[in-house]
């Protein structure tokens, strides 16, 4: 304001290149790890298959990357320190389909302006290499040198000319951690490249070319070896694959969560949140399990140029990417924790075993269909006797007692005794009338009977509202329900949904309704109370905005009608419940995402007895 007198003179000037490079460096090069990342990216783009990262004092004094890539000519060596000099793209079209790590041509210029760089490079076809030294953006040396094929870039005394920056560096341990993280990202993204990391003279990592499932334990510890959960899914739009580690190995801090798109590491808050929330039930609070997730997508569908350090990317169709990732990972976790292989001693011709087989093969068949379960293959029981949760006894009384159809009932009895023998083999046991314990091939599975039944009813109710399939069992004694005004208006609003689920309800004047019929596929008990409680539950669920009205009704219905905790179940009931549970699309969670079952492996059991 006090320079008004200078009006008329040009105050806006083009910055000298040194300055603009320094400013750019401020964005791109934030800490030694950024340098490491840029150099590693360049080495990868140079097509190297052996890359060595050497740091000293957490990169304060030295960050060096030695690769055996294509190298540069004398001319290029010089040019690469010019701002916007890049070998990677030529035209604007290229920008939208970049597959290389770098492309903006900023990195080397930026690094060069804030450090002392010594670069040696040689192409295979050249006899001699080139040595170039740049200090704070100024060329100090430029001469031929005898050197191996490839490029070696040594960045010394980073921020030597930007004391403010240097001051802001964190402790060596922290900075090293960031460097290691950058190294891990590159190493995970490029399993076909041999990597080495040397810090202050010690070799921290040496990773030969290896599979992801070997590289992960090599990078993060042997304990991951046996507990990796691979997954893969391909659609026409995107291909997702990767590895999760058993959430039991989750760490108390972040840092082992990796996302890659087309080989480029990226960060994505929402996606990370979604993925971590899938682990919720298996981890404690503030535990972060390892994962490495790779997206392969048409480069035109993703913008990698939205963040100065290219840490973030933007997908054109973010919703479907996240949806897909979510379902793929959820499936992988579910399969891992599932008990698809409940043990049977005899695998023979009867339907019991068949249904078991189906359910152990289920994951395979599901994979083939890309996660969607074909209703036709849902195992469910065909057995006349299994007519309902507590029809069992009366059926026995009746069919056991009549002789009208002798052959049939004999057959029935034979089957039933065979079945009883078998359930004993398979082993169901009820703990405090709440949990069903059963043996799996690898250990113990504990099923929450209430949550499990909720899931079963919920899915049935949901499909009922779509297809309106179950019939309505008419009631002999129609039930008159007096509601209050709010309940009544809510019922009025929800009536179409409730009716599709199989209820037959008539609204009268004066807040009264009459229940004439109930869904035919479930024993409902006290219809009046069920209706009232459903309305009540529905109101409570309106606090969860993620649920639509249909889901809320189905959840309310399921919560109210599911087998309560504390109800004694017969072996047949337990067996049927488990069969039905595994016929569900998402057997491992109840509709409100609480787990329906937990497992304990024999290994874990053994450990506990140690």
């Amino acid at each position: 304001m006090n320079q008004q007198g200078e009006i008329g003179q040009s105050v806006i000037r083009t910055m000298p290149p040194e300055l603009s490079n320094k400013i750019a460096a401020g964005e791109v090069i934030q800490r030694p790890a950024s340098v490491a990342k840029e150099l590693l990216d360049n080495a990868i783009d140079a097509g190297a298959d052996h890359i060595k990262l050497i740091v000293q004092q957490a990169g304060r004094t030295l960050i060096q990357v030695v690769d055996n890539g294509c190298g540069m000519s004398e001319e290029d060596a010089r040019l690469c320190f010019e701002r916007h000099a890049t070998s990677k793209i030529e035209s604007i079209e290229d920008l939208f389909r970049v597959r290389t790590m770098g492309f903006r041509g900023e990195a080397m210029a930026s690094i060069g302006s804030v450090s002392q760089i010594e670069m040696k490079t040689k192409r295979v076809e050249d006899d001699a290499g080139t040595l170039l030294e740049i200090w704070g953006g100024e060329e100090k040396r430029f001469e031929p040198v005898a050197v191996d094929d490839g490029t070696s870039v040594a960045v010394r005394n980073l921020f030597y000319n930007v004391p403010a920056r240097r001051q802001f560096l964190k402790t060596d341990a922290t900075e090293l951690k960031h460097i290691i993280n950058a190294f891990q990202n590159s190493a995970l993204a490029n399993t076909n490249i041999e990597f080495e990391l040397h810090a202050d003279g010690d070799r921290m990592y040496h990773l030969p070319k290896q599979d992801l499932k070997e590289r992960i334990p090599a990078l993060f510890g042997k304990q991951y070896k046996a507990s990796l959960i691979p997954f893969e899914e391909e659609t026409s739009y995107v291909k997702i694959h990767g590895m999760l580690a058993d959430p039991k190995l989750a760490k108390k801090s972040r840092g082992e969560q990796f996302l890659f798109v087309n080989g480029r590491p990226f960060q994505h808050r929402y996606l990370t949140y979604v993925i971590l929330s899938l682990f919720d039930t298996w981890t404690r609070q503030n535990e972060y399990p390892f994962y490495a997730i790779y997206f392969e997508i048409d480069p035109t569908q993703v913008d990698v140029n939205v963040h100065p350090a290219k840490l973030e990317v933007k997908f054109d169709d973010e919703r479907s990417i996240i949806q897909l990732a979510r379902s793929v990972i959820k499936k992988a976790i579910n399969e891992y924790f599932a008990v698809p292989d409940i043990e049977t001693s005899e695998r023979v011709e009867n339907d019991f075993d068949l249904s078991l087989d189906q359910f152990s093969n289920r994951s395979d068949s599901q994979r083939n269909r890309g996660g969607k379960t074909d209703p036709i293959n849902i195992p469910s029981r065909i057995n006349f006797r299994k007519s309902g949760i507590d029809g069992e006894e009366s059926a026995e009384r009746l069919y056991g007692g009549t002789d009208t159809d002798g052959d049939y009932s004999e057959e029935e009895q034979r089957q039933s005794s065979a079945k009883q023998g078998q359930s004993r083999d398979r082993g169901f046991w009820q703990l405090h009338n709440r949990y069903i314990l059963t043996q799996t091939r690898t250990g113990l599975c504990v099923i929450d009977q209430h949550a499990a039944h909720k899931r079963i009813i919920f899915e049935k109710a949901m499909s009922a509202t779509e297809e309106s399939l179950p019939g309505t069992q008419q009631l002999l004694f129609a039930q008159t329900v007096e509601l209050n005004a709010t309940e009544f208006s809510l019922l009025k609003e929800l009536l179409p949904i409730i009716q599709r689920m199989g209820f037959s309800i008539q609204l009268l004047s004066g807040n009264t309704s009459i229940i004439n019929g109930v869904p035919a596929d479930i024993e409902i008990g006290d219809e009046k109370a069920v209706l009232r409680d459903m309305l009540q539950q529905y109101r409570e669920l309106t606090k969860k905005p993620s649920l639509d009205a249909r889901k809320r009704v189905a959840i309310a219905f399921a919560s109210r009608t599911a087998i309560p905790r504390g109800k004694k179940l017969s072996e047949q009931e337990m067996e049927m419940l488990i069969d039905q549970l595994f016929a569900c699309n998402e057997p491992y969670h109840d509709p409100l995402e609480k787990p329906t079952l937990v497992t304990m492996s024999m290994d874990e059991m053994k450990r506990r007895f140690r």
Partner: protein, 371 residues
């Protein structure tokens, strides 16, 4: 207490009462059977506090007394014995020793005073009836009893004993059975609900041609020969069942019951395991029964002939309910009475004994069309 008894007699006595011994007792004393000497006979009593069974057996009582003996252990030992005399001796500390010519067995009993008191039936209404009639009535109605704790009134068979006839009614809200017999009457009409567990025990335990009933406010006693069963009654208002029995079902259908039952059972194998839903299509002396299970991609269809000359109609049922009802029809022919697909269907035997009427009612399932 000392007595001699034949192992066969004792075995029979034990199996008569053991039905009342709860499998998982809340009180340990309930796992015992009370032995008492009474008028030169041995009186065995078991109870689960709801139902008590008393059985008298012949024994040679050497010394009067009483003791409660663990039921399971005693029964298992005795069951393995041939028919030989067994000598029991109980000392003051309730140590029970019994001897046969095979050897001797010792166990510890409980004091008879600890055993729960059996309800006193003095002052109740006395009635008498034919045991067969009672067993028949129980057999015909019990299948429809509700197992739903939330409807306690329906968890038993309703006995409505009048001056001209007795109605036995059971319902679970989806089906109803009413069996009327004119050979059982009472000058003072009375009605009560007997829980279904008691009914099956009564049906099994009564062993003489006639049965004497004593009914008080809370209990009913059934006495036949040497056996007495006393049960607590369900103290609830029985639903007004008469009002739900339709009077204007005019579409009658006559059918071979065994054929239809077999068809229903076969076809229902292909119905959804949860809904058990089957559909009946009635048309010109033909009935087509169909089921399908979308989950399993299975379906079945059978057509059988019948007598039906009314408008074509389609009605759905839960196969289990329909099967239960059909198998309970006496004789070879069943008579259905329908009105509309959403109203109760009535099933009766085509022919009935003099003085008996059987009526069963099944609520239909409202059908949704096949996809």
């Amino acid at each position: 207490m000392k007595f001699n008894v034949s192992s066969n007699d004792l075995n029979q006595g034990l199996s008569a009462v053991i039905g009342a011994v709860p499998t998982k007792a809340t009180l340990p004393i309930l796992e015992t059977i009370l032995f008492e000497s009474e008028d030169g006979r041995l009186k065995l009593t078991a109870t689960d506090l709801e139902i008590s069974i008393i059985e008298y057996i012949d024994a040679d009582i050497e010394e009067e007394g009483s003791v409660a003996i663990p039921a399971k252990r005693l029964q298992e030992t005795l069951r393995q014995l041939p028919n030989i005399p067994v000598f029991f001796e109980v000392d003051e500390d309730q140590n029970v020793e019994f001897k046969t010519d095979k050897g001797k067995y010792k166990l510890v009993g409980e004091e008879a005073d600890e055993f729960p008191e059996i309800p006193n039936m003095d002052g109740g209404t006395n009635l008498s009836t034919d045991t067969k009639l009672l067993q028949n009535a129980i057999g015909k109605t019990m299948f429809a009893v509700s197992t739903d704790d939330l409807r306690p009134a329906m968890m038993g068979v309703y006995f409505d004993i009048g001056e001209n006839e007795t109605k036995f009614v059971a319902t679970d809200g989806h089906r109803l059975v009413k069996y009327v017999n004119q050979n059982f009457t009472s000058e003072t009409p009375l009605s009560f609900i007997v829980p279904d567990k008691a009914l099956s025990l009564i049906s099994k335990a009564l062993d003489d041609d006639s049965t004497d009933l004593i009914v008080s406010d809370d209990h009913a006693q059934f006495k036949s020969g040497s056996t007495i069963v006393i049960t607590r009654l369900i103290n609830e208002q029985y639903p007004n069942y008469e009002s739900v029995i339709p009077r204007d079902n005019d579409k009658n259908l006559l059918i071979d019951k065994n054929q239809m039952l077999a068809t229903v059972r076969r076809v229902s194998v292909f119905s959804s395991s949860t809904t058990r839903q089957i559909r009946l299509q009635l048309k010109n002396d033909k009935i087509t029964i169909r089921a399908e299970d979308l989950d399993m991609s299975s379906e079945a269809k059978e057509t059988i002939s019948c007598e039906y000359s009314f408008d074509e109609m389609e009605i759905g049922f839960n196969a289990k309910y329909l099967g239960d009802v059909l198998s309970n029809v006496d004789g070879d022919e069943a008579k259905f009475e329908f009105s509309t697909p959403n109203r109760a269907g009535i099933v009766k035997p085509a022919e009935e004994e003099e003085g008996e009427q059987m009526l069963m009612l099944v609520m239909p399932v409202m059908l949704n069309s096949y996809a």
